[in-house]
């Protein structure tokens, strides 16, 4: 529990207040300590959202990475380190890495803020001189990147109970509240530091948050949607250029694909000239970012590849990783060149002009004034019907192409559900997305495994052309292809089960209730 400490309450005031009747307890003061804390999180605030504070704490010569509970401020884990790594997997094995890896996954750690903390600890001791409670008085200020001191963050008093000693906290808390009149601090040092540094926690999320109103004219809704998507593209641009981690490019690409999907679904609500202009440019953006993303995916799944091989041959496949890394760097450079091009700059500024209503006047689309709810419902209903039609035609021995087409249609439906989420009851959309996601995961796995197996064959050929590949590496890659094909077969066999869940009564009824509506506007030829 933390308390805000006003300037008038100094250490001696605190000690004097606690020197009264503490029922046989006494206070012992430790030497004051000074340390620098640097806070870290991923670009999408994974740690903050998980209720965790990750800080590098340097006191004297010792640096440790600390994992705190954000709400209680309690230090739950720590690990001594040299420097803060970029990825969780770069951290030596230890208690923080164990917790960090599943939360952070493939995202890079980025510094958020740095503070200097002066602290004094008072120990409350019983008659055996055993510590039964700790009081930590902290005084902090923000540190600028050049190391100079910035804004003072105020003092705070943290009461750290010791497990199994329940009585002393009550006595001491009585003094803190009653005698000193301190009140509980509303938030921790991280939140204060972020505020002082002008950062807003959670200011980026890969989840879409598009605010639409059911009666909104479709043209205006389209502008809102494309505006949110442009913000996502722009937010991820710097991280994509610097290749800080794979997810900047991933989120960038997803936003571009969603924009393409929005453009196609709302084409009748938008000026035809605008659709004609943007559609090929967005397709181009998808193309120039594809090769790097493919290589990112192979590198991210490399660990799984290795684990799929018998222990004796796991080393043999390492040259493949080097090959992938080398080509990823090359493709990334071409990607950066494309992002530096005039074509991209023009697209970006035209996109911005459109969402801000500064684009040159153009003929509006025929459905520009229709209510977005009608357009969206009609569109989702049509997408859903297509999925049902295509899926029902697939039998146990249908060729793979049918499943691939179905996967694409499911993706369209998913994009539509997500773009227009705000228009429908959250309980219904949550269920609809859950059903669809289960089907998509199965179709995605089937497709990914096939693509990966094909890619491995292609990469093997490419590695041979580029020379110097050992037979052992090629043999190990052959084993990988075989393992992928087996898993692909299993995914194919699981399809029927997923399909019957998707077409179950509950899901069918939901689509019918929520989206099957007739209106004047939604009737699209």
């Amino acid at each position: 529990m933390s308390f805000e400490v006003p300037g008038s309450v100094r250490l001696d005031v605190l000690k004097a207040a606690l020197s009264g009747d503490l029922e046989g307890l006494r206070i012992s003061e430790e030497k004051p300590a000074s340390c620098v804390r640097s806070y870290y999180d991923s670009f999408d605030w994974r740690l903050y959202r998980a209720g965790v504070v990750l800080e590098e704490e340097i006191c004297g010569e010792e640096a440790r990475l600390c994992w705190r509970n954000r709400e209680s401020g309690r230090l739950e884990r720590y690990q001594r380190i040299g420097t803060v790594p970029r990825f969780a997997w770069d951290l030596p094995m230890g208690p923080v890495r164990d917790r960090l890896e599943p939360v952070l996954e493939m995202r890079a750690l980025q510094p958020l803020a740095r503070v200097q903390v002066g602290s004094t600890t008072l120990r409350v001791l019983n008659s055996d001189d055993k510590t039964v409670l700790r009081l930590e008085l902290e005084d902090a200020c923000l540190l600028h990147t050049d190391g100079t001191q910035g804004a003072a963050l105020g003092a705070c008093l943290r009461v750290v109970p010791v497990k199994g000693y329940d009585k002393p906290p009550a006595t001491v808390l009585g003094v803190i509240r009653g005698v000193l009149g301190l009140s509980q601090a509303p938030d921790g040092l991280l939140d204060q530091a972020l505020r002082a540094a002008g950062r807003r926690p959670g200011d980026y999320s890969a989840k879409l948050d598009i605010r639409l109103d059911p009666g909104m004219p479709a043209a205006e809704a389209a502008r809102t949607i494309l505006g949110v998507l442009l913000d996502v593209v722009v937010a991820n641009e710097a991280g994509t250029r610097a290749d800080l981690d794979s997810e900047f490019l991933h989120d960038f690409r997803v936003a571009v694909r969603r924009a393409r999907s929005a453009l196609s679904q709302l084409r009748k609500a938008l000026p035809p000239s605008l659709v004609e202009r943007f559609a090929p440019e967005l397709r181009w953006l998808g193309q120039i970012t594809g090769p790097t993303r493919d290589l990112d995916v192979y590198l991210l799944t490399f660990g799984d590849y290795q684990a799929a091989l018998p222990p004796g041959v796991r080393e043999d496949v390492l040259p493949l990783r080097e090959f992938l890394q080398r080509h990823q760097r090359q493709e990334h450079q071409s990607l950066v060149r494309a992002l530096d091009s005039g074509r991209y700059a023009t697209l970006r500024s035209a996109w911005r002009e459109f969402v801000e209503g500064r684009a040159p006047a153009a003929d509006p689309g025929p459905h520009a004034e229709c209510a977005i709810l009608e357009i969206a419902s009609r569109q989702i209903w049509r997408d859903y019907r297509r999925v049902v039609r295509e899926g029902s035609a697939i039998s146990d021995d249908s060729p793979a192409t049918g499943l691939h087409e179905l996967r694409k249609s499911c993706k369209k439906l998913r994009y539509a559900l997500e773009l227009f989420l705000a228009l429908y009851p959250p309980k219904a959309t949550r269920k609809l997305i859950k059903f669809l996601k289960a089907l998509q995961d199965n179709l995605g796995e089937f497709q990914d495994l096939e693509v990966q197996a094909d890619a491995l064959k292609r990469l093997a050929a490419q590695m041979m052309r580029e020379g110097q590949v050992q037979a052992d590496t090629l043999l190990a890659m052959g084993m990988l292809v075989e393992a992928l094909m087996l898993r692909k077969q299993a995914a194919r066999e699981a399809f029927a089960g997923h399909w019957s869940t998707f077409t179950g009564r509950e899901n069918r009824q939901l689509y019918k209730d929520v989206f099957d509506r007739r209106g004047d506007c939604g009737e699209v030829a």
């Binding site: 739950e76 923080v96 010791v162 199994g164």
Partner: protein
């Protein structure tokens, strides 16, 4: 959670000092660490300045009337907790013998703590009893301090034989030399013979030193008051070596 037990049939060989100092180092590494002082003599409990009392006694714990977690006390050190000894632990064998599967009771009681702690150190009383059999079942590794004398080696062999006979060899046996006197020729010779004849003895040795004995005066782990002393560094070496063997 990894469970490490300091055990030897012989008393006064440095079991408790090892449990307390290794647990301190484990906590300093950032691992959430618990020591369970199973010895009714309560030496580990004394070192942490905690009163040797558990509500309901050993019987309450093994019968599940009192949750282990409720009896745990925080020590003066971050990440380091203690489940205190209680004088009633001397009758724990009797309490255990009335239960179903008596040799697996401790493991069953410990299991719920697996989410709370990364390392559990069991500090055992010097005996071969139902409690020690429970410890053998529960532990991932048995840390056996050996004073390099003929008699100590004899008891170490007795432990090994007992474990082999009772089919209890799933735990890694990690013997190490304890209370070693560098000027004692017999110690040196005994260590040489034992290392040669019984592979698996850890390289790290804990010297006989007054700093270790002073733990009783400071009532604290060695690392907290003499962190750079020879024995403190020896425990650090031992801890690093143990981690590589788990």
């Amino acid at each position: 959670m990894k469970i490490l037990a300091t055990y030897n049939l012989k008393g006064g060989v440095g079991k408790t000092a090892a449990a307390v100092n290794l647990a301190y180092l484990s906590a300093r590494d950032g691992y959430r660490t618990l020591v369970w002082d199973l010895d009714p003599q309560a030496a580990a409990t004394f070192y942490f300045r905690i009163r040797p009392r558990v509500r309901g006694g050993g019987r309450g714990l093994v019968r599940g009337r009192q949750a282990l977690d409720a009896a745990i006390k925080g020590t003066d050190f971050e990440n380091l907790d203690l489940l205190p000894a209680d004088f009633s632990y001397r009758k724990m064998d009797f309490a255990l013998s009335h239960l179903k599967k008596p040799a697996h009771t401790l493991l069953r009681l410990i299991r719920p703590l697996a989410q709370e702690y990364d390392f559990l150190f069991l500090d055992c009383a010097p005996s071969i009893s139902l409690v020690s059999e429970n410890v053998f079942h529960a532990a991932d590794a048995l840390l056996v301090p050996i004073i390099p004398t003929t008699l100590s080696i004899r008891t170490y062999d007795q432990v090994r034989e007992f474990m082999a006979r009772a089919n209890l060899m799933h735990a890694t046996l990690l013997p190490f030399f304890s209370m070693v006197e560098s000027v004692n020729l017999l110690h040196q010779e005994t260590m040489e013979v034992l290392t040669r004849e019984r592979p698996g003895v850890l390289r790290s040795q804990i010297p006989h030193a007054t700093q270790v004995e002073r733990m009783g005066v400071h009532r604290a782990p060695l690392g907290s008051y003499a962190g750079r002393s020879r024995p403190a560094l020896a425990y650090e070496g031992l801890w690093e070596e143990i981690k590589t063997r788990l």
